[in-house]
Amino acid sequence: MFPLPAGGATQLFTLAALAALIAGLSAIERKGAFQLMLSRPIVLAPILGWAFGDVQGGILLGIPLELLFLGGVNLGGSLPENESLLAGALASMVVPAGLAMHTGVDAPLAALGLGLLLPLAYFGRRLERAAEGRNAQLLEQAMARAERGDPDAARVNLLGLLLPFGAAAGICAVCVLLSPLLALARLQCGQMVLSALDGAWHAVWAVAAACAIRAIRDPRAPVLAGICAVAVIGATLVFRWVS
């Protein structure tokens, strides 16, 4: 029997609908509309966590993902990896899995989920390229309509939001529905595997911090970050020793 959240299959389907809506909206917010940064992992994962009933789980996933993909910038025609799709899918799978296990999200579960879903960041980029191809067809439509004398020819612009919305919504809903499998896998892990996954999550944090410092793209950044890191570690050790 698969582990399910407290509300059973009904709750799982409700969570899938919620994930589809939130992830779909964030997918269009990422590039096509507003760009208020609501689709960044540091926002999206905690929001999904909050919607599912485990804010802390969302935060645990969102922060390292934000640091990992901080350097991804959409400059001109270049596309970065799709951090929003990954954050949405990861939160959609890992947080409900934590609920199904009645333990919440922990480091081994997060590492397991990340290892499984990381290719979605690449896949999301390919999806975005496909959406751009579809947008080129919308441009043709707009040009034809303008030639025919339609002053609202450019209104087709908004149709470009449909594909990112649908794709992200579908993927994240499927991730929620597959979350019991992840919970089952996590429950099968022995002590040694759990310790290994815990170590893996610490290593992910290490890479995430390195990525974040690289993302600043400033020659002074590593030195400043190093000084600050040493200061924080020193201060914490002194504080702990004193108290």
Partner: protein
């Protein structure tokens, strides 16, 4: 510039239409495409102004078609160009300028404004806001989300509004106004702040691995950070994560 037909009255876009143009500027990249990049979004955004300036549908459609030419800029900085384009369209509709003036204006300002916006918003403000928010998480919990959104959008939204308003009021003069806004001078400060916060987060990772009394793990995490920093440009983030997961699995299994 074209000779001015004196009989033509000066046409102006109403505040309501300007507000609609500004609102639609938030959808500038909805149909980003490799051929014209933000052209469809730009044409869509400027349509409310064009409808008012050219009441004749066929004439308006012709003006919309003009804006379906290639256009690319930073999505926030494009607000200045959009505002300026509306002002120039008023001149075109009043017969004070040729339609080519608008195209030249868009072509001339797109690339430099894109570079300015990328450097400030994407490469300085966003990392700084995200790293400050991430560093604040142990103290404010879910509040870190609001810290990030507040820090970022408190600059982004007023900047966008100011750029649009300045573009509309000054048209070609927007270059001078943006130059005086010292966007580029704020960038090093934001980057320094981001670097300090990055260091704090790195320390957090080391401390999380090292407590309670696991100095070897802390050292391992610190070494992984340094190695990852060195090899990241060659490896890329995704592959680096897989290496980290693998390394963590191998080493983590030894600490049962």
């Amino acid at each position: 510039m074209r000779a001015l037909p004196l009989s033509q009255p000066v046409r102006r876009v109403s505040t309501r239409s300007l507000a609609r143009v500004f609102f639609r500027s938030f959808f500038l990249q909805a149909s980003w495409n490799p051929r014209g990049m933000q052209n469809l979004g730009f044409a869509d955004a400027i349509t409310p102004a064009l409808r008012e300036l050219y009441p004749e549908p066929a004439e308006c459609a012709k003006a919309v078609a003009r804006h379906l030419e290639f256009f690319n800029c930073h999505p926030y900085m494009a607000a200045a160009i959009l505002g300026g384009a509306v002002r120039l369209e008023e001149r075109v509709a009043s017969g004070e300028a040729a339609p080519e003036t608008v195209s030249s204006f868009k072509r001339a300002l797109g690339p430099p404004f894109a570079a300015l916006g990328d450097g400030f918003f994407w490469l300085a403000l966003r990392p700084a806001a995200a790293l400050i928010a991430a560093a604040s998480e142990p103290f404010v919990g879910l509040g870190c989300v609001f810290v990030f959104l507040l820090l970022y959008n408190a600059v982004h939204l007023p900047a966008r509004l100011w750029l649009f308003a300045t573009g509309y009021s000054r048209a070609e003069g927007v270059v001078e106004a943006v130059g005086r806004a010292h966007l580029a001078t704020g960038t090093p400060l934001l980057k320094a702040c981001a670097a300090a916060m990055g260091g704090a987060l790195a320390a957090r990772g080391v401390l999380a691995a090292g407590f309670p009394l696991r100095p070897f793990q802390a050292l391992l995490v610190a070494s992984t950070m340094v190695v990852a920093f060195a090899i990241l440009p060659r490896l890329g983030a995704t592959r680096a994560v897989y290496f980290a997961l693998l390394l963590g699995l191998v080493l983590g299994a030894r600490f049962v």
